[in-house]
């Protein structure tokens, strides 16, 4: 082929579009830059953008379409569920799929999906970090574990509960899901008070998190709030305002000083006139990782590209990474952050 075809699959409409569209933007930004510089080994990169609305059935349609259209690698999918539906198709077609956001541990740990890679850490890693931090650093004794009933949030929360119970040093006083989009969470918040939880561990994304923390603070509940990288997002601080102060969230080790990170953000602002949304850096990283591997292999052959992905480090906005046998990125380290004076500060 005279072009390299990069499939981009994920939710581009429907209720989860806000997680999928930044990925499309990331691909556009990277590809524009590469094409402007003459392409990869002389070949231009072409985007095949396909919307799956995070629904499994659409994901299989998208996956077969990408395979039929001759995609060389796929950036996506966005949701773990859709990814799980699509992967058998990629596996058979020997097509690399790299997700910036699908965090379900089974995707890599089950060994079922050899063509799958991701530039984000899986849920259990973060839960480990969050729980250890809460118990050891914050001295939590009574922990309320909340989640947003979603794949990601509930997965994280379930791991958190498991780790707390295994550790035996603290007690899970409450384990519940909140309904995303509900107008308020006062009942759950009142319950936190009632169970006298000293720490809340929340799995999910920032919109619900900011609603919960705001209502907690409004109702004068002072418990610590520990969460995941769905919350480690500047939007969270803006939305929750002063209530965000003191919130802990785990996230990839601070990369905002990396030149490549800054460059990626600037390119987005330049191209789209706005700040990028969630998972943009990870999507940018995935795109760069895949295209670089193709360049290094000087081929789009599955075996060759996979070998490069697994063996050689590549510079991305989320750091210098390479992938292990299972497909998880090495080098995407996590650390704990706290909101201090309206900023996430990395706690060393």
């Amino acid at each position: 082929a005279d072009t390299i075809k990069l499939g981009v699959a994920g939710a581009h409409s429907g209720d989860l579009a806000s997680y999928g569209l930044p990925t499309v933007n990331a691909a556009k930004v990277v590809v524009e830059k590469i094409n402007a510089a003459g392409g990869i080994n002389g070949k231009q990169v072409e985007l095949l953008i396909q919307d799956d609305q995070c629904k499994p059935e659409q994901a299989t349609n998208v996956a077969t379409k990408l395979v039929s259209d001759g995609a060389n690698v796929v950036l996506g999918h966005i949701c773990s569920g859709a990814t799980k539906a699509a992967l058998p198709i990629y596996t058979e077609a020997k097509l690399i799929a790299m997700s910036p956001s699908a965090t379900n541990p089974m995707l890599t740990q089950s060994g079922d999906y050899p063509t799958f890679f991701r530039t984000i850490a899986s849920d259990d890693m973060q839960a480990r970090l969050g729980v250890d931090f809460a118990i050891e650093k914050l001295g939590a004794k009574k922990i309320a574990v909340l989640h947003d009933k979603g794949d990601y949030g509930k997965g994280y929360a379930e791991f958190a509960r498991k780790f707390i119970e295994e550790g035996g040093k603290a007690e899970v006083v409450m384990f519940e899901g909140v309904t995303p989009g509900a107008p308020d969470y006062s009942a759950v918040v009142q319950k936190i008070r009632r169970f006298k939880a000293d720490t809340v561990i929340y799995g999910g994304y920032h919109p619900e998190a900011s609603k919960i923390i705001s209502q907690m603070r409004k109702k004068r509940i002072k418990a610590n709030f520990v969460s995941d990288d769905g919350v480690k997002d500047d939007t969270f601080i803006k939305v929750a305002g002063k209530n965000a102060e003191g919130v802990y969230a785990s996230g990839p080790i601070d990369v905002s000083n990396l030149p490549m990170y800054k460059e990626a953000i600037a390119a987005h602002v330049k191209m789209f006139g706005s700040e990028p949304g969630a998972f943009y850096p990870a999507a940018y990283a995935a795109t760069v990782a895949m295209l670089t591997a193709i360049e290094r292999a000087d081929s789009t052959d599955y075996e060759a590209v996979t070998a490069k992905l697994r063996s050689e480090f590549v510079d991305t906005p989320v750091g210098k990474i390479k992938f292990n046998e299972k497909g998880d990125a090495e080098g995407v380290g996590f650390s704990m952050y706290q909101v201090q004076n309206g900023k996430y500060i990395e706690l060393k």
Binding site: S18, V178, T179, G181, P183, S210, T235
Partner: protein, 302 residues
């Protein structure tokens, strides 16, 4: 029994219920007049929130005080949503008068999808923060930990809209014309009532209330995105039916009932199942009262 907890949950349910009610009133009015489940009503609410946000954003940059922003946001959102409601009726529903019952319903579903995607394309699919525009009242401070100023404003706005509209419908000439049109459009026209105008008016009023809800509720929850209308719409629809669809006080009661039920279910059982509980309650309730709280059983003379 832990009375504090019980009361706290009750107050939380009150706010939540008032939120549902505010949207449900518009729902029920539109339903009342043309028997259309206007699935796009929730999207009007969402547009109201976005319009409010835009006004707040612009004014915020120029440093207006919060209360001025709030009032202005409400006024402009109401104005625009009235215009949207009016236009929507003209474009998507009016050409369908006289068609089978379900056709406008599908048109409404299409309209709802359209408006969601309109916002995605013209604005964003991300969550945006909505500024807190309602000041913390001094006198609410003692109970602010269980019932804040925003809660108060929402409950009051909802209850007074309900009261005002009920009186309007019951006693004014326009209100009577509305009821007449709702019951028999042809006869209303035979009495010289311009049914098209009445229907437009109903859409305008319903949409205005949705806009008011959009601004107030967004400032309460502090955020919005293009999907808020969908969830609110389903709940408001549920509330409207629970209360007896077509009845304005019914919508209020239905909303409160639903809000309280959800709150207590989340408090005493688990919020995992709060919606399951809400819907189960709806089903059970309707089994015993098939026309909702205030709905009249249709008297069908055989």
């Amino acid at each position: 029994m832990d009375w504090d907890f019980f009361i706290e949950l009750g107050l939380g349910g009150l706010t939540r219920g008032s939120i549902y009610a505010l949207i449900a009133i518009g729902y029920t009015m539109v339903y009342g007049i043309i028997e259309l489940i206007n699935f796009a009503h929730g999207e009007i609410y969402m547009l109201g929130a976005f319009t409010g946000l835009i006004v707040a954003g612009v004014m915020g940059i120029y440093g207006f005080p919060a209360v001025a922003i709030l009032l202005m946001a409400i006024v402009i959102a109401v104005l625009y949503c009235a215009a949207y409601g009016y236009t929507m009726e003209k474009v998507a529903y009016k050409p369908l008068r006289g068609a089978a019952r379900l056709s406008p319903l599908i048109s409404a579903i299409g309209m709802s999808l359209f408006l969601q995607n309109y916002i995605i394309l013209a604005q964003t699919s991300d969550f945006l923060p909505f500024p807190a525009l309602i000041p913390d009242f001094e006198f609410m401070e003692p109970i602010a930990h269980i019932f804040g100023s925003t809660d108060l404003v929402i409950v009051v706005a909802s209850a007074s809209s309900m009261a005002a509209l009920t009186l309007f419908i019951k006693f004014t000439k326009l209100g009577k014309a509305m009821r007449a049109t709702a019951q028999n459009r042809k006869m209303a026209m035979l009495l010289g009532i311009n049914a098209d105008k009445i229907i437009s008016t109903t859409f305008i009023i319903g949409s205005s209330l949705a806009a008011l809800g959009g601004v107030l509720i967004s400032t309460h929850s502090g955020q919005l995105n293009f999907m808020i209308g969908f969830i609110a719409g389903v709940k408001a629809f549920t509330a409207a039916v629970l209360g007896g669809i077509g009845s304005i006080p019914g919508a209020m009661l239905g909303g409160l009932f639903l809000g309280l039920a959800e709150s207590y279910a989340a408090g005493y059982i688990s919020s995992d199942y709060e919606d399951v509980f809400a819907f189960s309650l709806l089903v059970i309730f309707l089994i015993f009262r098939p026309s909702g709280i205030l709905g009249k059983a249709p008297v069908e003379k055989v």
